[in-house]
């Protein structure tokens, strides 16, 4: 698709939230790892859907239902094309990345046996830990954790040693929400496949920063949330290879996912509807489709380069601060700068930054085991999107200096 040259100021124009002031200060939004702001086109799509196109999908014979159905299915195809999936049946709409992972844990997990192993890493988000712990409790499987270095990089040697014919699934974060580490997933996937394991990539932090091609990556599952990629909340995607999804039992029962229901037994709909029980988040799916179309109009390679530059710029300045420790210094990282400051609590830093108009996240970032590894209660995390600027980082740095002065004085 044709896109105009990358321009931050042009992109910012699309985001009404970025034009507001908080506490009388221009908002600087550095909490993109938690959720991204929404471009006007997504807001318009949602408003138009509810105003004029609202109808339940898939079963209606009337005009509006057909309109809504084709918009919903068009969104699925937009996403399919964007991530390079083979067909629309490989795109399942879910509530979000967490829901997608739970779907795999319950449905794919059905085939696992006592002693089967699931590999995750030490830098996983709770949503890629707890569903597997629940599965292990149900099935007697073993959850194994790939260690990381202090820099926040996977121990690849340990990973290879952990792989065996018992490994049934590798479920791993693509980009760490806490450290920013970009994991070498292509290599991990190839090695996991060699022992016959399937691979789930948690793409909650990668879809908005990297060009994703699921065919090229050759992952078996890829999960992400709509709201972190400029779309609405409450909608997400599970990509799965068709031949794999086909052999997996339904996750939830209800309308839309069935072919025929009798009291004796029911048969199930084909993909992708087999996994979409009940009325889905129609507006969310259509909104997510419009967010992805918006990304297609942007030179995402240039956007990624800009995000990397912001990351390096911020990290380079913060590195010179006395008593400040960057958490996550992987060679290959992007869009996240997490840090702690001696004798200062992240909560205090975050509160003072907030009052200066700067939104960051503080705490454990839903990665408590990772905090235990670094023996810290939490970090301050600035996470960037393509609409952020170096000027904003300068303002943030000045605000941080002032906060440290007040707290340290």
């Amino acid at each position: 698709m044709e896109h105009t040259p990358f321009s931050v100021s042009a992109i910012r124009e699309h985001f009404p939230a970025l034009r507001q002031k908080v506490y009388g200060k221009p908002l600087i939004y550095f909490d993109n790892g938690a959720t991204s702001q929404k471009p006007q086109v997504v807001l318009d799509t949602l408003a138009k859907y509810y105003a004029l196109e609202n109808a339940n999908i898939h079963r209606g014979v009337h005009y509006l239902s057909q309109q809504a159905t084709s918009a919903y299915e068009a969104a699925r195809r937009t996403i399919q094309q964007y991530i390079g999936a083979k067909g629309p049946e490989e795109i399942i709409f879910t509530k979000g990345a967490t829901d997608s992972i739970n779907l795999v844990a319950f449905s794919f997990g059905e085939r696992l046996k006592p002693g089967d192993e699931i590999l995750i890493s030490a830098m996983e988000h709770h949503s890629n830990i707890v569903p597997w712990q629940l599965l292990c409790e149900r099935k007697g499987c073993v959850l194994r954790v790939i260690p990381i270095s202090k820099k926040g990089e996977l121990d690849l040697e340990a990973f290879e040693q952990m792989l065996s014919e018992r490994t049934k699934l590798l479920s791993i974060i693509h980009i760490s929400n806490t450290l920013g580490t970009i994991n070498p997933v292509k290599e991990l996937i190839a090695k996991a496949h060699k022992v016959g394991a399937k691979v789930l990539l948690d793409g909650a932090q990668s879809i908005q920063h990297l060009a994703i091609d699921v065919k090229d990556l050759n992952c078996d599952f890829y999960t992400f949330s709509g709201h972190k990629v400029y779309g609405p909340t409450g909608i997400g995607v599970l990509y799965g290879k068709e031949e794999l999804l086909d052999t997996m039992p339904p996750y939830q029962g209800g309308g839309d996912m069935i072919a025929k229901v009798t009291f004796e037994r029911s048969t199930y709909n084909s993909l992708p509807l087999k996994f979409e029980a009940g009325t889905p988040h129609i507006a969310g799916a259509i909104g997510l489709g419009s967010a992805i179309s918006f990304l297609q109009s942007i030179d995402m390679q240039a956007a990624a380069a800009h995000e990397l530059e912001l990351t390096k710029y911020a990290q380079g300045i913060l590195d010179t601060f006395e008593g400040l420790h960057i958490i996550g210094e992987a060679k290959n990282k992007t869009s996240v700068v997490s840090f702690t400051i001696d004798r200062m609590h992240p909560f205090d830093i975050g509160t003072l930054l907030d009052k200066q108009g700067i939104a960051v996240r503080t705490g454990h970032h839903c990665t408590q085991p990772l905090m235990d590894f670094y023996q810290i209660p939490g970090t301050v995390r600035a996470s960037f999107a393509f609409y952020n600027t170096k000027e904003e980082i300068d303002t943030f740095v000045a605000a941080l200096e002032r906060s440290m002065q007040i707290l340290g004085a």
């Binding site: 992240p346 909560f347 009052k355 705490g363 707290l407």
Partner: protein
């Protein structure tokens, strides 16, 4: 001074700050002046775990009056604790149980006692009232 008057006094003190940062600077100074809880008092049963910061609360009753001392790992939380302790200490259990902490929202700190803030402060206020209630039923 009544519990109402103590709260009004805090509101008046804060009225001179129209800048958020000045207000927080004051709270931080207050936090630094609140005595640290002795390590042996920082026991698990006195700990109120928040998602962001932790609070420890120790309670004593002397001559029928409540005496709270508390600590936090975050200095802003500790500053707000200082205000709460100032308001509640030397008050009777009945007064604490029945009290309405109107000063918190009047000085613009309501967000810190919202259930979603998860800094342990809301739970601390609840615990203070519970302790006062317990002492009444003894």
């Amino acid at each position: 001074m009544s519990i109402q008057e103590k709260q009004q006094e805090i509101i008046d003190e804060f009225a001179i700050y129209d800048d958020w940062m000045d207000k927080y600077e004051y709270i931080i100074e207050l936090g630094k002046s609140v005595p640290t809880l002795a390590p042996e008092l920082k026991t698990k049963d006195r700990l109120i775990e928040g998602c962001q910061s932790n609070v420890w609360l120790a309670t004593e009753i002397k001559d029928g009056k409540m005496h709270f001392s508390a600590d936090s790992d975050a200095i802003i939380t500790k500053g707000i604790i200082g205000l709460l302790i100032h308001v509640y200490n030397n008050e009777s259990p009945e007064t604490v149980v029945r009290s309405d902490l109107f000063f918190i929202s009047q000085i613009g700190l309501a967000e810190h006692l919202s259930p979603t803030r998860a800094n342990g402060l809301l739970s601390m206020v609840k615990r203070m009232k519970t302790e006062a209630l317990h002492s009444l039923s003894k």
